[in-house]
């Protein structure tokens, strides 16, 4: 990579010695690298390696403690995002950057310095979005859009500013394979126009396909640069972790009795932007992992809550080992051995302002016997929390830390571990490794495989198709509240799965015209 050290003047953005410390942790320590015009530059690292802080400094959201940046040969130190945008730096956020109750044009106007009149803006949105193969209706409410369409809104918002550098934070985590390929065509087109892209992702195969260079961060320091096209995904994962990577192994399985089944279930949508479930039937055997794929918002949350007991149905419609449980609440189901870990970590799977110990109690009270006659056995609860922290390598100052204070990946390990350690006979888990780095994700997947090997029936709902291919025995696709017939995973490849997800018909129109 010696050629990377060429004259700074040739580079679009040069970063030298950027350092940012928060109380108790150095998020970035003397990070230096540079981005050339028209290249796709990957930023890799585990959860908490300092990627987010770094891009926030480039985008002017966070002020560096030390170090300097040079953009197009001019010193660059944005005091706020507005200044960054004015200098030609735009960012597509992973989440919380859109306003659901506002329409597409209003959302885009909010991200612009001097937006034109709404009518002119709407026309420009139509034009630019068609141009880049990302069609959008400016008058639609963002709350009604799919995750992929929402991302288009963010991308168009950036493109209208003619950026020189586009920062993308985990852009593909919510997309179907077809949507990913549409996105990649757009990015290729942008690159062709001379725009540089700083690309953050956990999906190493994508980075290998798309990126020209990669900078790897570990614990806030730059540890390596590489050309992703010449490396294997595994090699890059090991550079991120700094040690050899464990790959989960799936053992062959013998057919057994059905543990968990749903029979012809219809559930109307509960929330305004929710999805109704239509004619869902599924059955999972003991020791089997059923993978349910699909883009978020196609009924995943609804299906998860029907299985967990948050949404009740007729008793006969959900059965655990032949026992009707459709009318039982979550605690009654836990007592019978059916546990669930919902997708949203903060606020659904864990109470944000309660400690890990208290959060362990909330779900573990029934099966672990943490309370007697209404009195809490704190000693036992602390032991249970410690066991989770120890077994699942949850990095936290102590078990008394509030759930909110943990990084997403660490809290995810805690939430998943909490359910697995209760020895469920059936486990429903929604997005087990969302936002979790490669090594932690491998650990969670291995734990799920181990649990299945001990005879538990597991339903894994995920948008990560590689993950489902890796661990599930059978695969079914959830699309607009309908569940496809399950297929043996060994008969599938990612291409076929993408078609099962129902993306085939509506992606044709979205191919880039150029």
């Amino acid at each position: 990579m010696e050629d990377r050290l060429s004259i700074a003047g040739e580079d679009l953005l040069t970063i030298t010695g950027l350092t940012k410390a928060y109380p108790g942790v150095v998020a970035n320590d003397q990070v230096s690298f540079s981005i050339r015009p028209g290249e796709v530059h990957a930023l890799l690292g585990e959860n908490g390696a300092g990627k987010s802080t770094l891009v926030k400094m480039i985008y002017g959201l966070v002020k560096p403690d030390a170090g300097s940046m040079v953009l197009k040969g001019v010193p660059y130190s944005p005091a706020e995002p507005r200044a960054a945008r004015a200098a030609g730096v735009a960012m597509v956020f992973q989440h919380f950057s859109l306003f659901e109750a506002l329409n597409v044009a209003e959302n885009i106007a909010l991200g612009m310095e001097n937006p034109p009149k709404m009518r002119d803006l709407a026309a420009r949105i139509r034009e630019v979005s068609q141009n880049y193969g990302l069609p959008l209706d400016p008058d639609q409410m963002v709350g009604d859009l799919s995750a992929g369409e929402r991302q288009r809104v963010e991308i168009i918002r950036c493109l209208l500013q003619n950026p020189k550098l586009l920062i993308m934070d985990e852009p593909t985590s919510v997309l179907t394979p077809q949507e990913v390929s549409v996105l990649f065509q757009t990015l290729e087109k942008l690159r062709g126009e001379g725009c540089s892209i700083l690309y953050i992702s956990h999906k190493l195969e994508e980075i290998r396909a798309l990126c020209d260079h990669a900078t790897i961060l570990r614990l806030g320091q730059k540890v390596a640069t590489c050309n992703p096209r010449q490396e294997t995904a595994r090699a890059m994962a090991e550079m991120m972790v700094g040690e050899a990577l464990h790959v989960p192994q799936k053992a062959p399985r013998i057919p057994q009795d059905v543990a968990l089944e749903i029979d012809q279930l219809d559930v109307p949508a509960r929330a305004a932007f929710g999805t109704s479930l239509k004619g869902i039937s599924l059955s999972v055997q003991k020791g089997e992992i059923l993978g349910i794929g699909g883009v978020a918002g196609n009924g995943q949350d609804e299906l998860c809550s029907v299985l967990s007991g948050e949404a009740l149905t007729a008793a006969e419609q959900v059965k655990l080992a032949g026992t009707p449980i459709g009318d039982l609440g979550p605690n009654a189901r836990r007592a019978l051995g059916l546990l669930a870990a919902p997708e949203e970590r903060l606020g659904h799977a864990a109470a944000p302002d309660m400690s890990l110990t208290e959060n362990a109690l909330l779900s573990g009270a029934v099966r672990e016997g943490l309370e007697h006659n209404g009195m809490i056995d704190w000693g036992k609860t602390r032991d249970f929390a410690q066991k989770i922290i120890h077994r699942f390598d949850v990095r936290t100052p102590s078990a008394n830390t509030a759930a909110r204070a943990l990084s997403g990946g660490n809290l995810q390990k805690f939430v998943v571990g909490r359910e697995i350690l209760q020895n469920p006979s059936a486990l429903v888990i929604n997005q087990p490794t969302w936002g979790v780095d490669a090594s932690a994700a491998a650990a969670i997947r291995q734990a799920l495989l181990d649990l299945a090997a001990e005879g538990a029936a597991i339903v894994v709902i995920s948008q990560d198709l590689d993950e489902l291919m890796e661990i599930s025995d059978r695969f079914a696709a959830l699309n607009e509240g309908r569940l496809s017939a399950p297929v043996e995973t060994s008969d599938l490849d990612v291409e076929k799965i993408g078609l099962m997800l129902g993306g085939a018909s509506d992606t044709k129109a979205e191919q880039v015209s150029a």
């Binding site: 959201l61 919380f96 659901e100 909010l110």
Partner: protein, 314 residues
């Protein structure tokens, strides 16, 4: 009982006057809530405005200066709330309730020497031939300037929220403060300005009571008008023109019950006095009832960040 003593023309005319203070306070609170802040201190800011306006109008002899002082008084009181909730991140509900209690006490203290005094009179606006139109003239065109300014404010707020960038930013901050922050908008600054605007409007509403509607100073004279204003914002699903409707509805019921009392309806007076409040509760329950598909109409329209503290950590 003599219902014929009730003149529909006078009833409608006094409805507009009765609704004005609530409308002012509700419009202010609408802006506050649109920015994502729930200020339950409307009652306290109203009554502080009532005494500030009254005292200054009496001292200077000018009602206009009185109204300006009322707006300033309400805004200053709301700044206490703003500082506590936006910088010290105190709980908005508790702080708002405390602000109401504080405002009631403060106004009593300030108003001790003003009890029983008449404020300078305020002329009705002379609209010339318009006021002579039969029926419409007395109902619509025979009021003081504040009535019309309040109506203009209502339309102005509607247009600002719908058509201007400032309105868009205000809605964005109330809808998703994290996103607004990430895009570089000053969430706390926007909210503080909204809170001050709400305080000023509530102060004006209070002064309208003490200078025009009643007109004199008595302790606790707002008598729950601030709470009704809060309820009307929910009733209106956070829409300015519906706030107008709600305020006129409440004003109408208030005026009607006063007229019925005067006409000697054979119902205890207390029932009539409580009727506007009862009707408000009934309307709120209907508005908040779950619709098909889950959420209530009211909760759908509520700004998503309403009542949530914002701190720019990370």
């Amino acid at each position: 009982m003599d219902l014929s003593a009730i003149s529909p023309t006078l009833l409608l005319a006094s409805l507009m006057v009765a609704a004005t203070p609530i409308l002012l306070a509700a419009l202010g609170e609408l802006i506050v809530e649109k920015s994502g802040v729930l200020n339950l201190g409307v009652e306290g800011m109203m009554i502080t405005g009532a005494i500030c306006g009254f005292a200054i109008a009496v001292e200077t002899g000018s009602p206009v200066v009185g109204f300006i002082a009322a707006a300033a008084g309400g805004a200053v009181l709301s700044l206490i709330f703003g500082f506590l909730t936006q910088y010290l991140l105190s709980n908005q509900v508790a702080t708002g309730l405390a602000l109401t209690l504080f405002g009631l006490g403060l106004s009593s203290l300030m108003g001790q020497s003003y009890v029983g005094i008449r404020p300078p009179a305020i002329e009705k606006l002379n609209l010339g031939p318009l006021a002579d139109i039969p029926l419409l003239g007395p109902v619509l065109f025979n009021h003081d300037l504040m009535v019309y300014l309040t109506l203009a404010l209502c339309v102005g707020i509607w247009a600002t929220l719908k058509f201007t960038r400032a309105g868009l930013i205000l809605r964005a901050v109330g809808e998703n403060h994290d996103a607004a922050h990430a895009l570089g908008y000053k969430v706390v600054k926007v909210r503080l300005l909204a809170i001050m605007f709400g305080g000023a409007c509530a102060g004006l509403g209070g002064a309208y009571l003490s200078l025009i509607r009643v007109p004199q100073w008595t302790e606790g004279m707002t008598a729950g008008a601030g709470w009704i204003a809060l309820a009307i914002v929910v009733f209106a699903s956070w829409r300015p023109l519906r706030v107008l409707l709600g305020a006129y509805l409440f004003g109408g019921v208030t005026v009607l019950q006063l007229n019925l009392q005067a006409a000697g309806l054979a119902i205890p007076v207390e029932y009539l006095s409580m009727s506007p409040y009862l009707i408000t509760i009934v309307v709120l329950v209907i508005m908040s009832a779950p619709r098909k598909g889950g959420k209530s109409r009211a909760s759908l329209a509520a700004p998503a960040c309403l009542g949530r503290a914002f701190h720019a950590s990370q």
